[in-house]
């Protein structure tokens, strides 16, 4: 939205919009490896239910999502697909890199076919370490991301350096 980007909005209104953005993060199902099961446990299981925080795991196409959790190993063959999918998401979008495979290649640090860290392909907002990180760790990552969105000023481009959970 051009208006928000140029920062012309009065302070309380942009804070209200930030609040609404943080409370309704539509997350996009992009499960890769074992972290996807922990992400599924986080999204789909009653004990760590993420819908409590307003993160709705409904949308299936990237067009309607504004948060993508890259959970699992990103290989070189998958990188272009991941990049194209990131570009299809409409603008105010955020990325959580979940698991040491997505953070830095993890246990496959010396493999010939694994991309060493997803931040080589798409900008990452929150890193959740662990192999696999417990669902609570992902929840904490989401809560920290929500705090950042709430008091985020959409005008300036640089969103500050990424958060690392724990």
């Amino acid at each position: 939205m051009g208006l928000i980007e140029r920062g012309k909005l009065p302070k309380p209104l942009s804070h209200l919009l930030g609040l609404s953005r943080s409370y309704s993060l539509w997350v996009y199902q992009w499960g890769l490896a074992c972290c996807a099961i922990e992400m599924g446990a986080c999204f789909g299981s009653p004990r760590y239910d993420v819908m409590r925080l307003g993160v709705i795991p409904f949308p299936v196409s990237p067009r309607q999502a504004d948060l993508v959790v890259v959970s699992g190993t990103v290989t070189d063959k998958l990188a272009p697909a991941l990049r194209r999918l990131y570009e299809q998401m409409p603008e105010p979008k955020y990325v959580i890199s979940m698991g040491s495979c997505a953070n830095s290649g993890g246990p496959y640090w010396d493999s010939y076919s694994v991309t060493k860290g997803v931040d080589q392909i798409i900008p990452v907002d929150v890193y959740v370490p662990g192999c696999p990180p417990r669902p609570e760790a992902l929840l904490e990552g989401i809560v920290m991301l929500q705090q950042r969105i709430r008091d985020e000023d959409m005008a300036e481009r640089w969103k500050g350096d990424p958060i690392v959970v724990g």
């Binding site: 609040l19 609404s20 309704s24 239910d49 819908m51 409590r52 067009r63 309607q64 409409p90």
Partner: protein, 343 residues
Amino acid sequence: MTLALELAYWQQLAIKVLAILVIVPTATAIIVQTFLFKMMAHMQSRLGPMEAGPHGTLQLMADGAKFVQKELLAPARADRRVFTLAPVVVLLSTFLLFVVIPAGPGIVAENLDLGIFFALAVSSISVLGVLMAGWASANKYALMGGLRAAGQLIAYELPLVLAVVGVVIQAGDLSLQGIVRAQAEGEIFGFGLIGLPFVLTQFLGFALFLIATQAELTQPPFDMPVAESELVAGFQVEYSGLQFLYFYLGEFGAAFAFSALAATMFLGGWWVPGLDLEGGLLANVVGPVVLFAKTMAVAFVIFWIRFTYPRLREDQLQSFAWKYLIPLSLVNILVTGAFKVIF
């Protein structure tokens, strides 16, 4: 509308349009909030949105405000005009449905004599919107979704209409107010206290109407056009931001409208024993509340089926409509006609 001060016609029209423009989004918000988020969550033994607002009630405000801020993307090869027009068409059909639904003796936007006929005609416009969306997004999945939607909505339009014919024969009147009055004045074997809600005599029609509504709203077990696991998001694949919000609003608005229609035709509409039919302050105030309660009950059943049943395959879905629903509704009409003649 008999209001105290005389208003020029256009002023009344402006009030009616404004009323509908306010009612439909709030009604959809309530439906989505209670059913899609809360009821589904509790059915799956979890809490549903809790953070936004007390106990998660403002979740939909947050969604709405967020979708407004999203960037509007359209695929390069999309046919721009048809792409942006499609969601509006779908939304239009939902708004028009509310024109004829009576919420009280005096509260009805336009008491058309052909009330029910108009409602069904308008509800089939959404097929056009879906097809336009499917074709315009230049995406294979969307195309397949659109075509499936067209096949399905047409196949289920017939049982919908035929189920309503039974009601019309029994009420002897096409306008919805007339149907409500018929249900209020009818009596069962001389016992007239609770009137004759048509669900008692037209239970087959009620069942057919509900099944056909489930298919009209493309909800599981008939949600082939928007089948998540196959066609990703069917015809809504390429829509983002506000346009997706229109589709979202259209889908759940239609759910509210159809359950309101079902409540009016089968459960006695806004009338409960003790309200006089001619109008008066009490009826005009209590009426909408009664209608809302009955609509929520019908919507509960619709969403309950939505969250439990797997989806039917395309050909099974079509054969179910043509082989079972339509013959059944014809039988229903025959029986109602016969009774009408005898009594």
